[in-house]
């Protein structure tokens, strides 16, 4: 089976993770330190400018220390000694020191802004690229809405924290150590007092952090619940209204809202405790210095200027701590967000190809173009396939597949489809029609048997090549928030405007597009709500016409398409299907009737195969299915 992970896919994965360390699997346990480490990993590509910044910050901090020293000296020596020249000299030196310190700070801050934003950009890109590689199973099991709101929130949380200037934190820590050193140089008696303060601060902040973290985790959970309720109620608004259940919806919401309120008060109260606490510790420090210093001064052990310097230092000393407590909430939220982002980045990407297909996989675009005319690899060279190579013969050989292990939904599916034929898949809801097309596209890998393209097992062909050979027109058409033209061009990126318009004409949608306010340049708003279902369907057909695939999969959508558009769609589809192998999940009678082969599926098994006439004559499952449509309708 193709399930084992080959070494090369590991390489692909680690390249996504950049410097994030070992690829780890999804973990529930939250480990803020690990998330932090990985976030810092994103700063590593900017090592050199970072070093420069650290150097600047160092200069800034040291010069910042000179200020208070000069202040003390000015008070003691110049003012105390009534030395006007000395005072002037000191004032000028202070001005220079402060100016340089702030300039370095300014430069470092601005440089850091660039670096942090670029690091964030890389994180977002890694996340996005990885999402691209996730298997279809992931998207089928994670509802788009929930996933989306989670991701945007998480990215936003990281952004918030980073924007709040992490550099001032770094500067703060450097300043703290610098102050400590200077204190000891200046007067070790006074400096010793700071050694009393540090453990107290450490103890309190640890204590507060513990409860805050707990509180925020609880809050996050409650908020998640509330949002889930809101999302469900708002998207189900019309039903709630129709069944007059608004009051009970409001009740539920109110209850959860109250829970969020309580959790928020709890979490924030602890978080905000840190600020006053560090404040009081700071004051305590100043008082300690003043009283001890005063006492020492009385004994002539220290000068008054020295006390002024120390008090100035003391105020700067607790500043970084205040900042941390200020940013504490957003840092916590950011780490929680980062953890979830990394969780996705660490998920296993699509099932591995065989190693020798890796090269083709990493760059299918060029692989295909380079080998447009010849190919089929030797035993050593990577096997590369060209699009033109496929004639469109498709065979299923005893295919077995289940979404869950031990629960097959496709059972011994065995059929040959010759190139250029149209095959209709017919059967009751849930028979496995869509699953068959999923397997053909290699969205899921089969458990047993083989699927062959022109006699080649599709597992030996790079997924990208398989998919490029197939055109897909889905029941649920999907259009992008882009111009009409670009939406068609999605089918083949190198198509010219003329080719796109030609495809639109073939799909009979050209006339309609020209009626739009800006014709082909009209921007389709999100999910293209300004188009009717039928028009959207026609656009997706134009897309497939442009793609010009050897094999076509149509999940026919008739449900919400009007009659006239349907006739158009019908004609467009006929044009599209001409000369291609077409596999149609058929709802329309005309498609079924005109299909070269009808495969009747029930419960994952083929129950009948044949053309319309033959199957009707058989008076079996198909006959029953077909006749039931017109039951009670004698004309």
């Amino acid at each position: 089976m193709a399930y084992e992970t080959s070494p090369s896919i590991q390489d692909v994965r680690t390249s996504f993770q950049r410097r994030g360390g070992r690829p780890t699997r999804y973990e529930r346990a939250s480990d803020p330190r690990k998330a932090m480490k990985r976030l810092f990993g994103y700063l590593m590509p900017f090592r050199q400018p970072l070093l420069l910044i650290v150097f600047f910050v160092l200069l800034q901090s040291l010069l910042g220390l000179v200020g208070p020293y000069l202040l003390g000296s000015a008070i003691d020596k110049s003012i105390g000694g009534k030395d006007i020249n000395g005072l002037a000299r000191n004032a000028v030196l202070m001005l220079i020191a402060y100016f340089l310190s702030n300039s370095f700070n300014l430069i470092a801050n601005r440089k850091m802004a660039i670096i942090s934003q670029n690091a964030l950009k890389n994180l977002r890109r890694d996340l996005f690229v990885h999402i691209q590689w996730l298997p279809m199973r992931f998207f089928d099991t994670n509802p788009a809405g929930g996933l989306m709101s989670r991701l945007t929130n998480d990215i936003d949380a990281i952004n918030q924290a980073v924007s709040q200037n992490i550099i001032s934190l770094v500067a703060g820590v450097i300043t703290m150590s610098g102050i400590l050193v200077s204190m000891f140089v200046l007067n070790h008696w006074l400096a010793l007092t700071s050694l009393i303060v540090i453990p107290i601060m450490y103890f309190f902040s640890n204590f507060v952090a513990k409860y805050t973290r707990k509180g925020f985790r609880e809050l996050q959970k409650e908020l998640g619940d509330l949002n889930a309720i809101a999302e469900e109620t708002i998207s189900g608004f019309k039903v709630i209204k129709a069944f007059r259940r608004n009051d009970s919806a409001i009740e539920t919401f109110k209850r959860k809202n109250e829970a969020v309120y309580k959790a928020a008060i709890y979490a924030n109260s602890y978080a905000l405790l840190l600020m006053p606490l560090t404040g009081v510790i700071g004051s305590f420090f100043v008082i300690l210095l003043a009283s001890l210093g005063g006492w020492l001064a009385l004994k002539d052990l220290v000068s008054i200027g020295m006390i002024a310097t120390f008090i100035n230092y003391a105020q700067n000393f607790t500043q970084p701590l205040r900042q941390i407590s200020n940013l504490y909430n957003s840092i916590q939220a950011a780490l929680a967000g980062a953890e979830r982002v990394f969780e996705i980045i660490d998920m296993d990407p699509e099932i591995a190809e065989e190693p020798r297909l890796e090269e083709a996989k990493t760059n299918p675009e060029t692989a295909i173009r380079v080998n447009e005319d010849s190919i089929i690899g030797s035993s050593t060279a990577p096997i590369v396939f060209s699009l033109g190579q496929f004639q469109g013969n498709v065979s299923f050989k005893n295919v077995v597949f289940g979404y869950l292990p031990g629960k097959p939904v496709i059972k011994n599916f065995d059929v040959d489809i010759s190139a250029g034929l149209t095959v209709a898949l017919v059967g009751p809801t849930g028979a496995g029609k869509t699953t068959i097309t999923n397997l053909l596209m290699r969205f899921y890998e089969i458990d047993e048997g083989q699927i062959l393209f022109d006699g080649v097992d599709i597992r030996t062909i790079p997924k990208e090549v398989v998919r490029r050979a197939i055109g897909l027109v889905l029941q649920d058409t999907f259009l992008f928030a882009d111009s009409v033209l670009e939406n068609i061009r999605f089918g083949r990126l190198d198509a010219t405007d003329e080719e796109c318009i030609e495809a639109a004409k073939m799909a009979e949608v050209d006339h309609f597009i020209r009626q739009l306010p800006e014709g082909y340049q009209t921007n389709l708003s999100e999910r293209a709500s300004n188009l009717s279902q039928g028009q959207r369907q026609l656009l997706s057909i134009a897309r497939a016409i442009l793609a010009d695939p050897a094999i076509l999969i149509l999940d026919e959508a008739t449900s919400s398409v009007d009659t006239r558009t349907e006739i158009r769609i019908q004609r467009a589809l006929l044009r599209l299907m001409h000369g291609r192998t077409s596999i149609v999940i058929a709802h329309r009678l005309s498609t079924i009737r005109d299909a070269d082969k009808i495969i009747v599926i029930d419960d994952g098994k083929i129950v009948e195969i044949g053309d319309h006439q033959a199957l009707l004559a058989k008076r079996g499952f198909y006959h029953r299915l077909y006749m039931s449509q017109f039951k009670g309708n004698e004309i």
Partner: protein, 582 residues
Amino acid sequence: MNEFGKLLRFARPYRKTALFSFVALVIVVTCDLAVPRLVGHIIDQGIRQRDLHTVLSTSALMLGISALSALAAVLNSVYSIRVGEGIARDLRESIFIKIQNFSYGNVDQFSTAKLMVRLTSDTAAVQRLFQMSLRLGSRAPLSMIGSIALMFVTSKTLALTMMPIFIVGAVVIFFFSTKMEPFFRTVQQRLDRLNTVLQENIAGARLIKAFVRGKYETERFETANDNLAQENVKVMRIMASMSPILTMLINIGIIVVVWLGGLQSIQGDLTLGQIVAFTNYLMATLHPLISMTQLSNNWANGLASSKRIAEVLDAEPEVAELPNASSLPQTIRGEVEFDHVYFHYNGDTALKVLEDICTRAEARKVTAVLGATGSGKSSLVNLIPRFYDARSGKVNIDSNDVRLLRISSILEHIAIVPQETVLFSGTVRDNIRYGKPDASDEEVLAAAVAAHANDFIMDMPEHYETHIEERGANLSGGQKQRIAIARALITKPSILILDDATSAIDVETETKIHAAIAKATMGITLIMVAQRISTVLNADKIIVLDEGRIVAEGTHRELLKKSPIYKEIYDSQLGAGVRHGL
């Protein structure tokens, strides 16, 4: 600002709490400012006079003051949290209730995603705005005022020289705050674009994989990503400049104090302790000033969010009840009549959705509405329970004009299965019972059987207790529709509206469901909207809509004879096939 004023009314219940928070803050600031003065006292009265007692007693006083300050700071935090979180809670509740009172038209206008943003990030932004303003925002001006006052008390002349510095500081902050607003807006726009691409890649994953467009999509994303980063860098560079600039200002102040104060001190006009206190006052104003710059971000976001929230709260429900609205009687016959009805959606007056509709759905009969997408079928049936109101003309139920009726009294008699199936989290049973919360298990079973849902429900792992995943992910489209039908049937309505409710169900199952519904709903008015002609063949009356007008009505046989449009639909969908097959 105006929108924010509207939001201030949500702060009204918390006036007292906010006041407490403010008073606590005044205490904090007073205490913080007292400390430098006391330090000056220690130096001048204690150390210089060699009076150990003064040193120690003043220190004790300082300790007491800082303890008081801490207590007040905790109170300030707690009260400001209560205000912020309380307002957030009230806002969420008001928005949610407002949404629940919306009409369909309002929700169409806003979209689910937008309403979710109002409810989540917008309220959070407003909450931050209030909370931060009560803490950091009020603190900076307070400590500045306090510092300036104390400076004047300490030395008038020296204090006067500080004025230009404070004025420059205020101008810098004001300039930055106002200048940042458009930048924040651009950042928001870029972020929206990035999210759109991300959204498309998640929702359209199947298509992107099928067309092997990963690379192309990555390029699209990277463009959006680069644009966002660029704009963010701009904003952050400006923000990053604020703190050094303000620090430099204060530093200049300190140098001025040392120089001028030094000169005065040498002349004996000022004591050393006073100079030290003065520099401390300056330092004390620095940090609140810097934290205030961080507020500008909060303000810009908070105001933008207030504006968006106000949009929702100020929206009027499109369909309003008259104050003296009447109710339908306990039992009704269930006749629905349209009398010269015209309709168009809000904001799109040019597109006439329904024009001069005059028709009737007879009581206890089956009426089908057939037509193309956009022909107005759904709009037509949505007028019956007043999901929307007709622009002119009348919709009558048993000769009662619906606009004179209470909406809830209409809905008591009507059940609707909408086009888009929505199921809620909970078990299958919960979902069926949604239509009638007090329904017995027997009623649930009967409804499920009638909707042809019992069979597949019994095939599910826990039958009726099976949990339905988010958005019904573990059910097929047809299964979801059948549960939705059961949910409607259980209410035993007098009028049942099926708005293309069987579209995702294969024809065979659909036929069975229709037979079952016909049996279960014997004697009620059934109105069904359909695209598939096979769905409507047996109706007592078929109304054919085309571009908002009724083009034909009658039974299948009648229409086949007299209506060319009907014939066209019939031929395209079935006609040839039937001839072919039989």
